[in-house]
Symmetry: C2
Subunit: 432 residues, 2 copies
């Protein structure tokens, strides 16, 4: 504040997000200068394809010959990396820019979850900002909130609905009572799912996000091991209907928590009570919940993706740099970040939803209950529905709490039986 | 960051909040220094009653002889005002401290909503921070979020459940099916309502908060006129039951919006659909919703009051000062704050819930519908329930949208009839 310098920005990557950011900065320049009391300019841009048709005309003089110049030219203060990907040009650009003493703003969750620790140390040494608000939960300013608004708090748990595509699919399967495939097609048509939506559907995207959040919430290095990873590919519409009848919604979550001093990170679908604060987070919305002291339970909900919300996040990062609000990228200095040993979920206890499609013959239920009992799993609720006109039935079991490893073992044993028509379903029940 | 100076703090006011903050800062000193990379000390304290029994022993040397020394002594950098009240000592302390070039952190919504404009100008001139995160919505970092995380956004509307006491009462009337008085007594016993809860119940407290939020969201001066103000004193348990049967919850909200370039601020109870993002914000929880561009709809939920959440907010303010993150107290400079003309709600249209307890005799319904029709109010739904064993009935009407002034006129005209047993109820229906 109260400074006269002019800050020069370079935007590298001009897809939907890049172009939206570019035009937002041009359109709102006056306002941004007013709020941060410092002048700025988008001095340079770069993109893979210079001649692609874009909504906005960018003056010729702004184009860099080579993207890497953004990390090198003396008259650039902030580099905005919007290429994506954890390797190749994005990696090279961000490393070089920081090494050359430039502030970096990025939306690249893959890069940050992979190289965040070393990049953060570099930024600390070079006394520059490394900002990545747009990497997690789109328009929800969760990173800024963890680093500033909730700075006084000691987190016990952080979790949320972190993937708009997955959430759109699950909530539309529920709303429209149609199957996974049909909703996925609809989502692709509407632009809510990419043509290759694998990393959204298999949980990889959420994994990167929860790694970053976890590291910020617990002031630890980014943990990369023993993370339980499951996507939504396995959820049938009948599971969503069953859950609904039992008072639950099925949501895909990323969760990180400290238990007995160990870090447990997990990504998987789960049943949550309809009364939960996040059961009504539908469509492409995201939500993040922090449980900590002294704040208690704190919920943020908002649009998790798309050019608008992502621009909102990028601009908040840029303004933070403009204001000179220099911070450690992961809240505390490298020397003060902790190593927290990770723990897999095998001994963690869950109650669970099991669905077994079986041949309807004598002794089946008795065989099933025997397997459960052998694995120390007790039944809270059991419903058997016959399939109309077929000699088969669907058995839905809500189990009491049992160790994850026992639940998994039990499912594997059940699957080995001849009376099982389709691989048994197992979805954890989460009290959140 | 990366500075060697030591920052001295004075805390003035040592009630529940003050003591909680004091012990939090002592206990978490190391951690706070790590995160902000600057040393600090609680050098002085002051309180009305020095000899009151407190949970924590405060060294004698820390006590100021007179509270106003906090604003004057050279070895104080940050003054934390926790006395409360818009006049008297709190006012004197904050004005003097800023004039003397000290940063001020306060939880005082009455003071900020009344003198925020002039205090903010003073702070700007003196280049000091004036921080008041704790004045609105307790632990929810809404002010920081508006000023930083959502800095890119142009808000159209901001609203929320902003009073924990009111929300506790309404949601417990709903949950326990008991009346206002009984819940209020329970709330007092549990410490959720003060012995004199007037400003919580009549909406005054929410009014101050929405004035502050509104000013931040729209970058305008604090508006003090044409604010519609209604509390929850008037809500009967039967209204909550009726609402529930119709698919609604009754919530008390503060709302500020721009319509045709005018500012409409209002505080009142309303019916909101059960599917709404805030219908399940119960107990002492608060919620704030921002509708803006490009972010869309953004929701924050958390604990709105109490020593823990308030300390969370105060510490985030203190850390902001420690980091040297100097900002205009209301986002933009005094010269850039706008004057937005206020508009009362008389011409604003609402659909509404009306409840009329009437003598059950011929012609009553026809008289009622005539009054409605004369005031251009059309009926969407009407339910008449007889009172058991009495010659009277309760008529519940859900109206289509009509001008507020017509709704109010209609109610007044209805109340003049002999067949009305009790003042008619009128609660707006809000699509939020």
């Amino acid at each position: 504040m109260y400074r006269n310098k002019k800050i020069n920005i370079a935007i590298v990557g001009l897809g939907n997000i890049g172009i939206n950011l570019y035009s937002h900065l041009i359109k709102n320049k006056k306002n941004i200068i007013k709020k941060n009391n410092i002048n700025f300019d988008i001095k340079y841009v770069s993109a893979k394809n210079k001649n692609k048709k874009r909504k906005i005309k960018i003056p010729k003089k702004k184009w860099l010959k080579n993207y890497l110049q953004a990390a090198k030219l003396k008259d650039i203060d902030i580099v905005i990396e919007l290429m994506g990907g954890s390797q190749g040009p994005a990696k090279k650009l961000v490393f070089t820019a920081i090494k050359n003493g430039k502030h970096v703003v990025t939306a690249n969750k893959a890069l940050i979850s992979k190289y965040g620790d070393i990049l953060s140390l570099l930024a600390e040494k070079k006394k520059v900002n490394l900002e990545f608000e747009a990497a997690v939960a789109g328009g929800i300013p969760i990173i800024r909130t963890l680093k500033e608004g909730l700075i006084a708090n000691k987190a016990q748990r952080i979790y949320g609905i972190l993937n708009g595509t997955s959430n759109y699919i699950l909530s539309n399967m529920d709303k429209l009572k149609i199957d996974f495939k049909s909703v996925l097609e609809k989502a692709k048509k509407l632009g809510y799912a990419e043509s290759n939506p694998n990393s959204d559907l298999n949980g990889e995207d959420v994994k990167s996000k929860i790694q970053i959040l976890s590291s910020l919430a617990f002031n630890c290095f980014i943990n990369k091991s023993k993370i339980n990873l499951e996507g939504i590919n396995n959820i049938d519409d009948i599971d969503i209907i069953n859950a609904d009848n039992l008072g639950y919604k099925i949501k895909h979550i990323g969760l990180s928590e400290i238990e007995n001093g160990k870090l447990i990170q997990r990504v998987h679908p789960c049943l949550i009570k309809k009364e939960s604060q996040i059961s009504n987070v539908n469509g492409v919305l995201n939500a993040v919940i922090i449980e900590g002291k002294p704040i208690g339970k704190f919920v943020l909900k908002g649009e998790g993706a798309g050019p608008g919300p992502t621009t909102s996040a990028l601009v908040s990062d840029i303004c933070s740099v403009l204001r000179g609000n220099l911070k450690f990228p992961f809240s505390v200095s490298h020397a003060n970040r902790k190593k927290i040993a990770p723990l897999d979920i095998s001994n963690k206890i869950f109650s669970s939803y099991l669905r077994l499609d079986v041949i309807d013959k004598k002794g089946v239920l008795s065989s099933i209950t025997k397997v459960l009992s052998k694995n120390k799993i007790s039944i809270k609720r059991l419903i058997q529905n016959p399939f109309k006109g077929k000699k088969s039935a669907s058995i839905i079991i809500i189990s009491h709490k049992a160790k994850n490893k026992n639940l998994v073992k039990c499912i594997n044993q059940l699957n080995r039986n001849n009376f099982i028509l389709k691989k048994a379903k197992f979805i954890r029940i989460e009290e959140i």
